[in-house]
């Protein structure tokens, strides 16, 4: 008897799951499609002139209350809620990358739990949401407010354009931007008779490294425990050797990850690694330690995105005496001197939760966030490049140097792995590059990547 009851319960549970599963697989998208069509027909894109009553939106971010930018983001949220009292903005802030990833994945797996706004770095992860019709297309809103669209510069385009993934339209609102640069310690270079102005090509840089190393000075202290470090080096070297087009070529697999071109790039990293230029404890240090070592004069160079300029450097002598400076990332092929790794850093995406009020409120929030006065205030507190055209005063000396370099840049791309249609590429390539720090040769790096691609097909 008991057994039978248990069996019935169990099978009932099974049926429920299966049904739920079917719902996920077939009926939901259909429902959603018709739903959004209806919504479109009656949607009023004039989000400014809409009545909001007790609308609650949730924003899932990586904002860090302990970071310099933390209070500035809080200001934005508070300012918005003051201006639009009918809308309440709830935040889920998870600064740590892996936990943020985890949390976003879980919340996005179910319609009921989706946040209204998410922050992402573009690329195939976001493309997957776009292709699942979960991200609000901003085009009709930009039509409604042409001046809003015009306020953006071109840096953030890579974060909002998903045509290479087969999606028409403009998705998300780009906010911060970056460019990967070479920072140097003026004191160390002058002590070793190196003129920073002479470092324009990769060969110049390697020559400088050789000199430093011979004098017992460590050129770089990369924190490859965070595997994005070699990932960024690989992307930047690609653009500096073959130009920014390499991103699309590699993404469409026109160029193979184990081909001649890429092997050449791996070999450049390997050569520098084998001579000990890149670091003394590559797999032991993370990017935080990397910066800490550079900031305290333990290494001559730092290869990093411009967010480095905006970090809190109070109390550090090197910064107070303005001994740290920025250089453009050296070129490998002079033709691509002004091609760089960079562009939009983060963009905010409004999620189509199916609730018209929430979507309108989310778009309104993004519009407020990227309005000139708000961005200006943000940048004055946190001097980082942004995707919105503003002329901000202030900022520290280093961010001004960086801004001058960015102004001359001709073409930029982000992480090269993100131009591939497979979501896993960013992990796959970074992990394979990490094996360089474990003495892998260039051939095996390429082979690892190609083998992994096969495994996930």
């Amino acid at each position: 008897m008991k057994k039978r009851i248990a069996a019935v319960l169990l099978s009932a549970a099974m049926v429920v799951t299966t049904l739920a599963g079917c719902g996920n697989s077939s009926s939901d998208p259909a429902k959603k499609d018709s739903g959004s069509k209806d919504a479109q027909a009656e949607t009023d894109y004039d989000v400014e002139n809409r009545e909001y009553k007790d609308v609650k939106i949730t924003i899932h971010t990586r904002w860090d209350t302990g970071d310099v930018s933390g209070p500035l983001y809080q200001n934005i949220v508070e300012g918005f809620m003051e201006k639009y009292p009918g809308i309440k903005v709830e935040q889920i802030n998870i600064p740590t990358e892996s936990e943020w990833l985890n949390s976003e994945s879980v919340l996005m797996s179910d319609k009921d739990s989706m946040p209204n706004i998410i922050v992402e770095y573009g690329g195939s992860r976001t493309a997957e949401y776009v292709n699942s019709n979960l991200i609000v297309n901003m085009d009709p809103y930009y039509e409604q407010y042409p001046e809003w669209k015009e306020s953006f510069n071109s840096m953030g385009d890579s974060l909002t354009d998903y045509s290479s993934y087969g999606a028409e339209g403009t998705y998300g609102v780009p906010f911060t931007a970056y460019q990967v640069m070479l920072f140097y310690n003026e004191d160390i270079l002058s002590q070793n008779g190196i003129d920073p102005a002479s470092i324009v090509s990769w060969d110049d840089l390697m020559a400088a490294c050789e000199k430093l190393k011979a004098n017992g000075v460590q050129p770089f202290e990369m924190g490859e425990k965070d595997d994005y470090r070699f990932g960024h080096l690989h992307s930047a070297l690609n653009y500096k050797t073959f130009g920014c087009d390499m991103a699309e070529k590699l993404g469409s697999r026109e160029v193979s990850y184990d081909g001649e071109e890429q092997t050449e790039i791996y070999q450049m990293i390997i050569d520098a690694y084998e001579k000990g230029y890149l670091g003394t404890n590559l797999l032991g240090n993370d990017d935080g330690q990397e910066r800490a070592l550079f900031n305290t004069g333990k290494s001559a160079f730092l290869f990093m995105g411009t967010w480095f300029c905006a970090e809190d450097h109070t109390g550090l002598e090197l910064f107070e005496n303005e001994k740290i400076h920025a250089l453009r990332m050296p070129y490998v092929n002079e033709e691509y001197k002004l091609n760089d790794m960079g562009g939009g850093n983060e963009a905010y995406y409004a999620v189509d939760t199916g609730d018209a009020d929430e979507v309108a409120a989310s778009v309104l929030f993004l519009k407020y966030m990227t309005s000139e006065s708000v961005v200006k205030e943000f940048v004055e507190g946190y001097p980082t490049p942004v995707c919105v055209n503003v002329t901000a005063e202030g900022g520290n000396y280093l961010s001004q140097e960086a801004a001058e370099i960015i102004a001359e840049t001709e073409d930029v791309r982000g992480d090269i792995e993100n131009y591939d249609s497979a979501t896993h590429m960013i992990n796959t390539v970074r992990q394979a590059l990490q094996s360089i720090a474990m003495d892998a040769d260039a051939k095996s790096v390429g082979k690892t990547i190609v083998d992994t691609i096969k495994q996930y097909e």
Binding site: T65, D67, S103, L107, S113, Q289, T296
Partner: protein
């Protein structure tokens, strides 16, 4: 005689040496962490063995300020205590029945609970997130505590059943003859006897509840309800490159645990004593 005393002393001496050595291994990393929490970044990077060159005390205020430490610690304590009480109340009767009753269906029930020990948490995340959304239970401590209980129940029942199984049956036979029903037997006989294992489990559940991260991460988004792990996570993020305050937060997160542990520890001791006296 003399010889025996000597060898006894020697034996005891060895025991003391081993005991102290083990304690030293336990304490050393903590002492180093404590010292590091008073150091500047550069000082930490120079090496961890040394005393701070310059004692830095503002690591602590900076941790309190940015992480809202006090409230998050309070939240975690509440969740942990509630989980602990609920787990014991639910697990003990079940374990008693499982250990003492002969019914066939109980084997299946026991297997069900044991299967629970084996379930990897991450493969349940998506489902549990869905359940919580459909109950509208995001940001609900009640729901969070239920989940904590669910994932502690298996272990609790496992430990309790094992313990009750190892007890002499004569005791409950005697009580039964005295006309003691299951309910009274549980409250007035089993609960006191099981004190040591309850204390053990209570500590384990308490630790779990206090420091759990994954579920609180997914189910609690209201920052005023953050638990201590959440708050610590927000603090030791990718972009915080100063280590001193991180160590300070680690130490701070441990302080309430240690205080409560010292208090609870007395209970463990007396529980074990009670168990021993009964023997």
């Amino acid at each position: 005689m003399n010889k025996k005393v000597g060898s006894d002393k020697l034996k005891k001496g060895i025991l003391y040496i081993v005991a102290v050595l083990l304690a030293a291994i336990t304490f050393l990393p903590l002492i180093i962490t404590l010292l590091s929490s008073f150091k500047t970044n550069e000082d930490i990077l120079l090496g961890m063995f040394s005393l701070p060159k310059k004692w830095v005390f503002n690591n602590y205020p900076s941790a309190v300020e940015t992480a809202n430490a006090i409230r998050s610690i309070g939240n975690s304590l509440f969740v942990a205590v509630a989980t602990l009480i609920a787990t014991v109340i639910i697990a003990l009767p079940a374990a008693y029945v499982l250990a003492r009753k002969p019914y066939k269906y109980l084997k299946g029930v026991y297997f069900l609970f044991m299967a629970g020990v084996m379930v990897p948490v991450h493969s349940t995340l998506v489902s549990i997130s869905k359940i919580s959304s459909s109950f509208g239970a995001r940001n609900s401590y009640f729901f969070l505590i239920l989940i904590y209980v669910a994932f502690n129940l298996s272990q609790a029942i496992f430990l309790f059943t094992g313990y009750i199984g190892s007890l002499d049956r004569g005791l409950d036979e005697a009580a039964k003859i005295d006309g003691c029903g299951d309910g009274r037997m549980l409250i007035s006989i089993m609960a006191p006897i099981c004190k040591p294992i309850i204390a053990t489990e209570a500590i384990l559940v308490f630790i779990y509840g206090y420091s759990e991260l994954i579920f609180s991460l997914i189910l609690i988004s209201d920052s005023s309800k953050y638990t201590v792990s959440r708050a610590m996570l927000n603090f030791t993020s990718n972009y915080t490159t100063s280590y001193g305050p991180q160590f300070a937060f680690v130490i701070m997160s441990m302080i309430p645990m240690l205080i409560i542990y010292l208090l609870l520890h007395e209970k463990v001791e007396s529980g074990i004593l009670a168990g021993a006296i009964k023997g």
